[in-house]
């Protein structure tokens, strides 16, 4: 009881609040202040959303609707957009009881008011609105009728079908079109016969619409057969064929045979593809079994289906075709093997790789092939084969497939292998499949500063970039290694590739080296900083350029590096971060020339820059050195 009373009190309070609040909102809709109008719109939407939420008080909703209606009908001036907005509120939230009150608006002198009222009736639930729309349809002019026809279709009420069928028979092309579409949307089974009759007499441009309607409703075997063969476009024909296959598999077979027997049928590929999806198993088998002897065009569609369906039973057929294949067929065969192949496909694909080592399709197929025995073979060949070319080949295969144990084997080879070619090949393979232990191994190799340092640097940088997690690599491997290194000479090798681990911590380290004029590692640090792949390096260059004792060369280098960051699409960092960096660079620039040089990257603005630049560059308008130039940059027209 207590709960009930509290609920009543709360509802009453809410009602009073809403009732009290609505008047100023409605007043604001008439305001000359557009911001007030917008706020009023938002607030009214919120009030109505609350008033129509499940469990909300019906009386309150009714009162709100009446208030809105009163405003809409009010003859005193209200801006048209506000009036339309109020009708839209009714469209979104109006209850069945309000439908009748909308009807006078259908005759309003304003076209948009009339159409808004129609849309409101379209959306208001209940029989009232439906019947009023039917009446309005009868009374509407022929040019207005299509919109009312669509309104009835929108509601999905089958009681509209008889009236629509009557209009369908009018012969007026515009009305036939809109009525056919509406009947389709309504799934009007009773309308199939009149629709097909209209179809026979229709102008060519109306036919696709009636065909669409027939497909929407769902057609019988006869019509589906007819449209499969003679529909106005391949799209309609395929749509009809789908339904034919459901309604009459035998006739679908007939249609398919007829279409596939004609090489020049414009829809042949669609139907061949469809045959493999829709047809009975024997029919499908017949098509699939024709793979070896089919024309190339058909082979490609068949292979596509074999891949989609994962028909591994056809692996041997494909393997038979592979050796003598070329061009598009070979590509399709390789890709299909990658999706359905087994151990049996491994060696043929390895052969294909030897024939064409740069072929991406062969790489992808080899990478995806589920073949555990082949993995063991590859690992064993790399580890134990007495034949060097075989070991080199299978090292590349390991790099493509990355079976368990690859990284460990390759790490060991990088550390211990005596043969130069094999060791270099192991380094190459580690770039793709190396793990964190590989990073450690390569870091140690770089610090050794021996004949492999350069190769190891290249592999290490690429591997580190590929692995990501820059701060993690820095903390756990790079920094400890640098601290433990015996000399600056050894450290230099690693510092030169620190842009492979471009994190905050490694950048701090570089920054500290650069700040120390006496450091022997400063030149190496500057070289690495010039390659840094993110915007974060920018402030270090600003610091370098703005130092009192900066040399001309340093200033020029800083300017070049900053421009690289600001205009480089591959430099990580958001458009606004880069623009803000540009502002800082100009504000702390050592000379007016430096400022102009920095701003030269903004001759043309991309979309991201356009979005932020006016706000971010605003402070630069006060800089006498560049104010004119900045004004020019900001003088662009947004698309």
């Amino acid at each position: 009881m207590r709960h009930f009373l509290l609920t009543c009190l709360f509802s009453l309070a809410a009602s009073c609040l809403i009732a009290t609040d609505l008047d100023p909102l409605l007043l604001d809709l008439r305001s000359d202040d557009y911001s007030s109008r917008e706020t009023a719109r938002s607030e009214l939407t919120r009030v109505f959303a609350e008033a129509t939420a499940p469990g909300a008080e019906l009386a309150n909703r009714k009162r709100l609707e009446e208030e809105i209606l009163e405003q809409v009908r009010d003859t005193s001036p209200m801006p048209l957009p506000s009036r339309l907005f109020l009708i839209r509120l009714i469209e979104r939230f109006g209850s069945p009881g309000i439908a009748k009150a909308i009807v006078p608006l259908l005759d309003d002198s304003e076209k948009e008011v009339r159409d808004s009222a129609r849309r409101a009736l379209t959306a208001i639930p209940g029989d009232n609105a439906f019947n009023l729309l039917l009446e309005a349809l009868e009374q509407a002019s022929s040019t207005e009728k299509p919109a009312f026809i669509d309104a009835l279709a929108y509601r999905g009420d089958h009681r509209a079908i008889p009236a629509l069928v009557e209009i369908l028979q009018s012969g007026d092309p515009a009305l036939v079109s809109s009525t056919a579409l509406a009947l389709g949307k309504l799934d009007a089974e009773d309308a199939i016969a009149p629709l097909f009759a209209a179809y026979r007499n229709a102008l060519p441009e109306i036919r696709p619409i009636i065909e669409t309607a027939l497909l929407d409703i769902g057609i019988d075997g006869d019509i589906a057969y007819h449209l499969s063969l003679k529909g106005s476009s391949p799209a309609i024909r395929i749509g009809a064929f789908h339904q034919l296959a459901d309604a009459s598999p035998e006739r679908a077979q007939q249609a398919l045979d007829s279409i596939l027997s004609r090489r020049d049928d414009p829809a042949r590929a669609l139907f061949l593809h469809e045959a493999l999806v829709q047809a009975s198993a024997p029919e499908m088998d017949a098509i699939l079994d024709s793979l070896e002897n089919a024309p190339l065009d058909d082979q490609l569609v068949i292979l596509s289906a074999i891949a989609d369906l994962r028909l591994s039973a056809y692996e041997s057929t494909i393997l038979n075709l592979l050796p003598d294949s070329e061009g598009a067929l070979r590509t399709a065969l390789v890709q299909t093997l990658g999706l359905i192949g087994s151990e049996a496909s491994f060696e043929p694909l390895v052969s294909a790789f030897q024939d064409d080592p740069d072929n991406d399709e062969v790489h992808n197929a080899l990478a995806r092939l589920p073949a555990p025995v082949a993995n063991a073979t590859a690992l064993s060949q790399v580890a134990n084969s007495k034949d060097r070319p075989t070991r080199l080949l299978y090292m590349k295969i390991l790099a493509i497939r990355n079976p368990q144990g690859s990284a460990e084997l390759l790490n060991s080879m990088v550390r211990n292998e005596g043969n130069k070619a094999l060791r270099e090949a192991a380094l190459d393979a580690l770039e793709s499949v190396g793990n964190i232990e590989s990073v450690r191994t390569l870091v140690n190799l770089v610090l050794l500063d021996d004949a492999f340092t350069r190769s190891a640097q290249r592999a290490l940088k690429r591997l580190s970039v590929s692995l990501g997690a820059a701060d993690y690599q820095w903390k756990t491997i790079y920094l400890p290694a640098l601290e433990a290194a015996g000399s600056d000479e050894a450290r230099e090798g690693l510092i030169l590739i620190l842009d492979g681990v471009p994190g905050e911590l490694s950048l701090d380290y570089l920054s500290s080296l650069i700040a120390d004029d006496s450091s022997a590692l400063r030149p190496a640090a500057l070289r690495t900083l010039a390659r840094w792949p993110s915007v974060d390096a920018g402030d270090i260059w600003i610091t370098i350029a703005s130092r009192q004792d900066a040399s001309k060369r340093e200033v020029a280098t800083a300017s070049k590096a900053l421009k690289r960051i600001l205009e480089g699409r591959d430099i990580q960092g958001s458009a606004d971060d880069k623009l803000e960096l540009a502002v800082r660079a100009v504000q702390t620039a050592p000379s007016a020339d430096f400022k102009r040089d920095i701003l030269s990257v903004y001759d043309e603005l991309n979309g991201g820059q356009q979005r932020y630049i006016r706000e971010i560059f605003d402070p630069l308008l006060g800089d006498a050195d560049v104010a004119t130039r900045v004004a020019e940059i900001l003088d662009f027209e947004e698309e």
């Binding site: 609350e50 939420a53 499940p54 476009s233 799209a235 395929i238 041997s316 368990q404 997690a469 993690y472």
Partner: protein, 427 residues
Amino acid sequence: MQKPNYSRRDFIKQGAALGASLFAAPLVLRAETIGLNGRTGPNSRINLAFIGNGKIMGGHLSLAGHDWVQPRYICDVKANRLEAGKEELKERGFPDVIAAPDFEDIMADPSVDAVVIGTPDHWHAAIAIAAMRAGKDVYVEKPMTLTIAEGKVMAEAEKRYGSILQVGSQQRSDRTFRKAAEMVRNGWIGDIKEVYTRLGSFPPPKLEPEEPVPENFNYDKWLGPTPFEPYSANRVLGNYSGGWRCYWEYGSRKFGDWGAHHFDIIQWALGRDHTGPTRFVPAGYEGAEYLSYEYGDGIRVVRDHPDMNGHMIRFIGTEGEVFVSRNGELETNPPELAARPMGPSDGHLYQSDDHRQNWLEGIRSRRTTICPASVGHRTATICQLAAIASRLGRPIQWNPEIQAIIGDSEASRWLDRPRRAGYELPA
């Protein structure tokens, strides 16, 4: 030979989920054989039309330089954009491209094989459906549709007409997002419990005094199916920081802008491409700080949670986390996960490294794209349900199987919207 055991259902299931793109290499084939919905283009090229020459179309016009593509039409309701598009295509070596102010002319031309739709969102569905019905393949910008009802019709049209459709959710064709999704799918971070994603915010929609409609701008058609509002330059502006994207009438604000990208990746990573969440709770409801939605198994997605480590999406699992952003940014917790290469036992997702190329390949081979209408519809559904919950200020219960709002008939009215006279949905 042992005959395979298959069924149509298996095909649909697998076809929708399957991976590597077949026929990735250029093919030189007769157009009627390789698809093109039956039409033959000059020199077997794909005859393309670009519809809506706004900012987003700037990137798509590069298709004009593709060996497989023959640009045929540029279309826009703004005369200046139409001319700019024609000029750009001329500079790219195609002086004979037809400038069409009305997309209907393109639909009526049977020589056009495919269309790229870069209009504001409120026009996506009508143009795409008309194109598919006319037998043309479609690249449509994200979000695929503005209403859930439109999405259902588009997904049905794609299936019925055998259309090759690509939704412009191009993060699916980015290797970093794919890697993140594969990590999640392969269970590298255990069972997913929560996902955070950052969408940012737009300024509120702005009502402004009426301005004269620029000459040679068909503003009525620009408005199309949406309610009439007087013209103002800001309303029709196509920039990324405001303009039409701020108005619910033409877009789904940030839900349709960034949500269409990030919700899409979340769907993909969680393996929910053909289903969806079951409950949406708006920010502000019973003190909720952020909008969130939940899947039936309890996975919760939170919009704009601040704890994102600067990333766009954060997957939180029982055994770790994955953070992913554009520009190839991927981090994990524990960190060494990011450094773990995919192994042969890991499942691979559909691989596309170029979103537009994936569509062109699909046109030629009739293979499903990485983001067909059936998938784009489910992502757009999330954008729209999140928007409905936010606009109504109350939770929405959703049944993804029957695609219906449960227990709130008033909210169900927002699943579609009546269209202005003359701009009815063409199916």
